[in-house]
């Protein structure tokens, strides 16, 4: 397979949302054929530069997926499937990118705050951000404030995403921000919040940098923030 052909196949399979050969795609009859994971490995074996795979295979495909979503041809499950493809490819590519001196778009720590077990929204944001080229460190759900702050310190993360679904746990987001201040970390990290009961007003009230309504808004907000 030629270099250009393998990159086109990667892009095609990202659009189809196929991580592995056994996955079905948007179109019929793709099961069993090489998907993003297999094709990324093959591209590296062929000596394709990892940055070319990111730019010409993954990023280009995600732009198409974004357009299809805008046109309502694709819905959230399609976007997630494509983002998962990019995430799986990035897992393979990151060591190669680091070796080649290419950095990610930044470390993004994401967590549902203490007392709150809801993680679906947080997971969707994590998948989309990973697909968007961020190095996502997912701490999980019901994470104590101290652990979140410690992770920010340890990873020197540029971004922190906090999620809460309950009106009783959203206030913990404010506690995390206060703790970041106490520890002298607040100026080093941009804090994004999200979750059903939260809002732009609430973000301002607790001193967060931004409120994101959904994963797509998170990506747009991050584009405006320098890492």
């Amino acid at each position: 397979m030629q270099k250009q052909e393998v990159l086109e196949k990667i892009a095609f399979n990202v659009i189809q949302g196929r991580v592995e050969a056994e996955d079905e795609g948007f179109d019929e009859g793709l099961e069993g054929r090489p998907a993003v994971t297999e094709l990324t490995e093959e591209a590296l074996t062929q000596g394709v530069h990892p940055k070319s795979i990111v730019l010409e295979g993954l990023t280009k495909a995600m732009d198409v997926v974004g357009e299809k979503f805008e046109e309502e041809e694709y819905l959230i499950p399609d976007m997630l499937a494509s983002a998962e493809c990019v995430g799986a490819a990035m897992d393979i590519l990151i060591p190669h990118l680091l070796k080649a001196g290419v950095e990610s778009k930044g470390k993004f720590i994401i967590s549902t705050v203490a007392g709150d077990l809801h993680d679906i929204g947080k997971n969707i944001v994590a998948i989309m951000l990973k697909g968007g080229g961020y190095e996502v460190i997912d701490l999980g759900a019901d994470v104590p404030t101290e652990r979140i702050v410690e992770a920010v310190r340890q990873h020197q993360a540029a971004f922190l995403g906090l999620s809460a679904l309950l009106t009783t746990t959203m206030r913990v987001m404010g506690e995390v921000i206060e703790k970041l201040k106490e520890e002298g970390l607040r100026n080093n990290v941009k804090v994004l919040i999200g979750g059903a009961p939260t809002s732009s007003e609430f973000a301002k009230e607790i001193g967060a940098d931004s409120y994101c309504k959904n994963a797509f808004e998170a990506i747009d907000v991050l584009k405006t923030m320098a890492a």
Binding site: G17, E24, F26, L75, I76, P77, D78, L80, A81, E84, I120, N123, I124, A126, I127, D138
Partner: protein, 515 residues
């Protein structure tokens, strides 16, 4: 001829009567037909009943009238001869309907013959309290039904995906319309604007010949029409309680002799022309329908006929019909069960209410009967689209809203997709997701989603603190109406006009303009 039919929705029927209760109602109907019997104002029908063993005598009344008492055996034998399967044809053969009394596959269509068309427009209004705040509000205008509006209704209904058949929802009241040309214009306006099945009542029996000839020209000949009956008829032969109407009986004779499908419909009102209690209402309407079906089978054995049950309840404040009420569903479901017991396809009713305009009341009343009657498994549900103010108004945007509602109900009641291979696939998915980092099923929705297995949100939803249902439905209706109408071939139109006196010239122009 392609042997394809519209899909409808196959349901698992909800039944409220147990086997004994069905039997008691059936026996009660036979008992009514034996004593007091029926009052028959048509001599030919009375004599036909007599020739087959009914006891008749002339009543003393202002009009010629015969009392008819039926032996149970006569009714049972005649009803057993009615076919269990009736095919209703269509200009587009893919729109044919197969009504099988033993298969609870439900089809939906329009109905009534309302005098009023309700036009809806959105208009901006400024808040009295805050001058810079405007809201969009629907304004409704009443128009008298005419041939142009009936044509428009047929075109719109042709585009509504969940509407399976077209019963003229509007009465045509153009100044040029007379009792003599009413039927030909009504059928032509319908047939030239929809490729779905067309059904209506006859205003005058004398019009039948012209209407049938028109349908033959469209279907491709006399034999082709009988094989693919693009039209069928409704005859309300009974005036409740228990009286056979003279001129409608003549229409029954003529339609059955013409070999075209017919609905024997009865619509008693519980509380005035029938008992309000479920048992009494259902026993009486069933007696009326059985006697009507008996008439069809005595005229011609095996005549295609539908069991047409439209039992309604009286409002007790004004004695008008009350449709969106619990008793309506009870009466109607019982009738569906009886029709199933007789193995005759059931023409039933849903989607009517007291609301005068589209809105929350209309949505409640319609959903209440749309859902319940679909669950009953009636083969043919009329009145389901666009009716308001009971059956007095037809509102096109309401038909669009009803289409959305019926689509959701069909999705809700469809057969469960549960089987060994599906279960095996699901188990694989569970294992796969649980071994992934995020344990999220979202991406595994895709196959079902793109196959149309996953329902979409309500089509006319608004995003903010506002109700935009009507505004969005009007926009959607405009898109549907902008589509091409399924016009007749111009040479067929020419031939129909050549052979059919009384057709309004305007219908010819509009039939050709859209080609």
């Amino acid at each position: 001829m392609t042997k394809s039919y519209r899909e409808g929705i196959l349901v698992k029927p909800y039944e409220r009567l147990n086997r004994d209760q069905v039997k008691w109602l059936h026996e009660a109907s036979l008992s009514i037909l034996a004593d007091p019997g029926i009052w028959c104002y048509n001599e030919r029908a009375a004599k036909l009943f007599k020739a087959h063993g009914a006891k008749i005598w002339e009543e003393e009344s202002g009009s010629p009238c015969w009392r008819v008492r039926f032996p149970a055996g006569l009714i049972k034998q005649a009803v057993a001869k009615a076919p269990a399967r009736v095919v209703l044809g269509a200009r587009n053969p893919e729109n044919r309907l197969l009504l099988d009394a033993e298969v609870p596959r439900v089809y939906f269509g329009s109905g009534s013959e309302a005098n009023i068309w309700i036009e809806t427009e959105m208009e901006d209004f400024v808040s009295v309290r805050e001058g810079d705040v405007t809201v969009r509000v629907p304004r409704f205008t009443e128009l008298r039904g005419n041939t142009a509006l009936l044509s428009r209704a047929a075109r719109l209904c042709d585009k509504l995906e969940h509407l399976d058949f077209f019963i003229r929802p509007l009465n045509i009241q153009d100044p040029e319309i007379t009792p003599e040309n009413h039927d030909v214009n009504k059928f032509f306006a319908s047939l030239s604007n929809t490729a779905k099945h067309v059904q209506a009542g006859l205003t005058k029996v004398e019009s039948l010949k012209g209407v049938v000839r028109m349908a033959e020209l469209i279907a491709g000949g006399s034999q082709a029409l009988r094989e693919n009956p693009v039209i069928s008829f409704i005859a309300c032969v009974f005036k409740s309680p228990l009286q056979i109407v003279d001129d409608t009986a003549e229409k029954v004779f003529a339609i059955v002799e013409a070999g075209l499908p017919l609905v024997i419909s009865s619509s008693p009102q519980g509380g005035s022309s029938a008992p309000i209690q479920e048992a009494g209402m259902v026993a009486q309407i069933n007696a009326e329908i059985l006697a009507g079906i008996t008439l069809t089978q005595l005229i011609r054995e095996g005549a295609p006929v539908l069991y047409g049950s439209v039992p309604v309840r009286a409002r007790l404040d004004d004695l008008h019909d009350l449709y969106g009420c619990p008793e309506f569903n009870q009466y109607n479901i019982d009738c569906v069960q009886l029709a199933r017991c007789y193995k005759i396809p059931c023409y039933s009713t849903a989607g009517v209410g007291d609301a005068k305009v589209p809105g929350m009341q209309a949505a409640f009343e319609k959903l209440f009967t749309h859902l319940y009657m679909t669950m009953s498994g009636a083969q043919y549900i009329h009145y389901a689209f666009g009716l308001l103010d009971r059956t007095n108004s037809f509102c096109p945007v309401q038909a669009v809203l009803d289409n959305e509602q019926i689509g959701k109900i069909k999705h809700c009641l469809r057969q469960p997709k549960v089987g060994p291979s599906v279960v095996e696939d699901m188990l694989k998915t569970v294992k796969k997701v649980m071994s992934s980092s995020y344990r999220l099923y979202a991406r595994h929705v895709r196959k079902a989603m793109h196959a149309g297995d996953v329902s979409r949100p309500y089509r006319f939803e608004a995003k903010g603190l506002e109700d935009k249902v009507l505004e969005k439905a009007l926009d959607y209706m405009a898109k549907l109406e902008a589509g091409q109408a399924p016009c007749l071939d111009p040479s067929t139109v020419d031939q129909i006009f050549k052979e059919t006196p009384g057709l309004l010239p305007g219908l010819r122009q509009s039939a050709k303009q859209d080609k």
